[in-house]
């Protein structure tokens, strides 16, 4: 009875109910879209960093990260990398020889990390080859080809085939200089790739360092559904002496960023739902006040207060039941469309790239967000209905019946 009566009651004032339903739908859409937009930024930033820079897992000598001394190489690193590549869930594993040094052009110099890479496996793990904007991926230069980022090239005022000199200490601490030519220039919004690294062939670097066959880092890229912790556990059980870290440990700022953006959903929900709750209170209060006489009659003829209370609550929940699917559908449709097409923010690309963001944004929403938002809206409807429902049951039939 209450369900039927409440349903009919919400259509007494179609316009008013449609306004509330519209507000609920719009609120849900805004929450989903807002979350998708923020996710687009964070997913793009994280994917960029993980897929093109740090990877999901890194393996080092336990002492390497402290001082980055080149003597602390991963024992049997190349063999371990071969093993890891065969593990289920592993997309690729690239070995790197690392040294901190300086790159200088005839005009300028800059401090960098020089990365000696296994160019084939690096292409699998970081898709470095796909990021080459000018020149080629270690091709076209026969002796000591290097790849650098566009920002670094700009700082050094060099271009493809320009000569640069790398300066670093070898394994004995002897200051070493090698002359290189730029084979390719990376175009990426990733800040480290853009200005902090110089990539060269692993053999070229290792030879100069005096540590041929040794590596300092294994970067492991996983299939998207694989939990990095499972691979870390396996590695630790098979090779207990090495330092194995997940991307959250390697770049804790990324994990914090993910947390912050995750919490932003709740902040956004809080703001929108607070506005919505006042709208619902206002509407339901009007609905109660304009039918005080009828409510008085209902209580006079024997409708209990709990039934009157429930009737008002159900009416409000109905508004949510009608509004929520509309908002969810529009939210899903908007996000799906923009996710497939991308949001072109090239007008702001300079500012975005300065922070490491791509200028094409792909909004994305996790499935559970739809559920969280729906629950949030129903809690809001429930909370918004309480005051009007209490107002209704506080009516005295004899007074309500004589209201004009």
């Amino acid at each position: 009875m209450l369900l039927k009566l409440s349903w009919k009651n919400i259509w007494r004032s179609k316009l008013r109910s449609l306004v509330v339903i519209g507000s609920i739908a719009m609120g849900i859409w805004a929450m989903i879209f807002g979350n998708a937009f923020m996710n687009g930024f964070i997913v793009s930033y994280m994917a960029n960093t993980i897929n093109h820079d740090i990877s999901h897992i890194q393996v080092h000598h336990p002492d390497f990260k402290r001082d980055q001394e080149i003597k602390f190489s991963v024992s049997d690193g190349n063999q371990k990398a071969v093993q890891i590549r065969s593990w289920q869930g592993v997309k690729g594993a690239a070995t790197r020889t690392l040294v901190t040094g300086m790159v200088s052009s005839p005009r300028k110099a800059s401090g960098v990390q020089i990365r000696g890479i296994d160019i084939e496996n690096e292409a699998v793990v970081t898709r470095l080859d796909s990021l080459i904007g000018e020149g080629d991926y270690f091709e076209g230069i026969s002796r000591n080809p290097v790849v650098i980022g566009s920002k670094l090239a700009e700082n050094l005022q060099v271009s493809v085939k320009s000569k640069v000199v790398l300066t670093f200490n070898d394994v004995n601490g002897t200051l070493t200089q090698i002359s290189c030519r730029i084979a390719g220039i990376i175009k990426s919004s990733n800040l480290s790739l853009g200005e902090s690294y110089v990539f060269m062939r692993q053999d070229d670097l290792a030879r100069q360092l005096g540590i041929e066959g040794e590596i300092h880092e294994i970067a492991v890229l996983l299939e998207s559904q694989v939990d990095p912790e499972t691979i870390v556990s396996r590695f630790q059980s098979e090779y207990p002496g090495d330092l194995v870290e997940t991307w959250q440990e390697i770049a804790p700022q990324l994990a914090y960023l993910q947390d912050i953006y995750g919490n932003m959903l709740y902040v956004l929900m809080g703001i929108i739902l607070t506005a919505l709750v006042f709208g619902i209170i206002n509407t339901m209060l009007m609905a109660v006040l304009e039918r005080m006489k009828e409510l008085g009659m209902l209580m006079a003829v024997g409708m209990t207060k709990i039934r009157v209370f429930l009737m008002i609550m159900i009416e409000t929940i109905y508004l949510g039941i009608v509004g929520a699917p509309v908002g969810l559908l529009f939210g899903w449709a908007t996000v799906s469309y923009l996710n497939s097409k991308g949001v072109d923010l090239t007008a702001y690309s300079e500012g975005l790239e300065a922070f490491g963001y791509d200028s094409i944004l792909y909004p994305y929403v996790a499935d559970e967000v739809y559920l969280i938002v729906t629950i949030g809206v129903f809690i809001t409807a429930f909370v918004g209905a309480i005051y009007p429902a209490l107002k209704a049951i506080r009516l005295k039939p004899v007074e309500a019946l004589h209201k004009i």
Partner: protein, 227 residues
Amino acid sequence: MSIIKATDITKTYNATAVPVHALNGINLEIEKGEFTAIVGPSGCGKTTLLNILGGLDHPTTGEVTLAGTNITTMQDGKLIDFRLKNIGFVFQAYNLIPVLTTQENVEFIMLLQKRPKQERDARALELLTQMGIADKAGQRPSQLSGGQQQRVAVARALASKPQFILADEPTANLDSHSTSSLLDIMAKMNKEEGATFVFSTHDQRVIDKARRMITLEDGQIISDEKR
């Protein structure tokens, strides 16, 4: 045996600085099956008395006993339940539920009483037929005339076969034809269903139809005439 008994009822409103004595020592007994009109000029306390007899309002002093139950000290929840089971109300402004059809309005109190659907449907159609508005069963109150709406209100009041029907100025908004027709129906129901009717009214046509007339003035009964 009296089915309604009011003893030393007073009602004082203190809404303003000066207390208003709406009822002053009302003593009243109404027998089962009576067709009683409470009459008097505006402000004499008719509606207040009816509200108190129906358990919608509490007297300042005195007590009301309905079918042997003292409702004066009853808690709100029990009083609502008592009203649901024993009292039918007819209001001056009909007070039908606008979103329900005529039949649904008539069935409403039976629904609250959780009567089976078959019984509800049969009783509602029986009453609507007796009221001469069976053809309006599927229509909403807004599609009915004032007289038809009040007939629905009477049918609703009678639907659950209550012991008493309390009607506050039931004909105040009706034209003479509708009033006459409604009074005939209520008299017939009183006779056929044995329900006790108590009206507040200052409509002479209702007064003429009543078999007992209680006249109020300044919150007191000044005459009680049985015909």
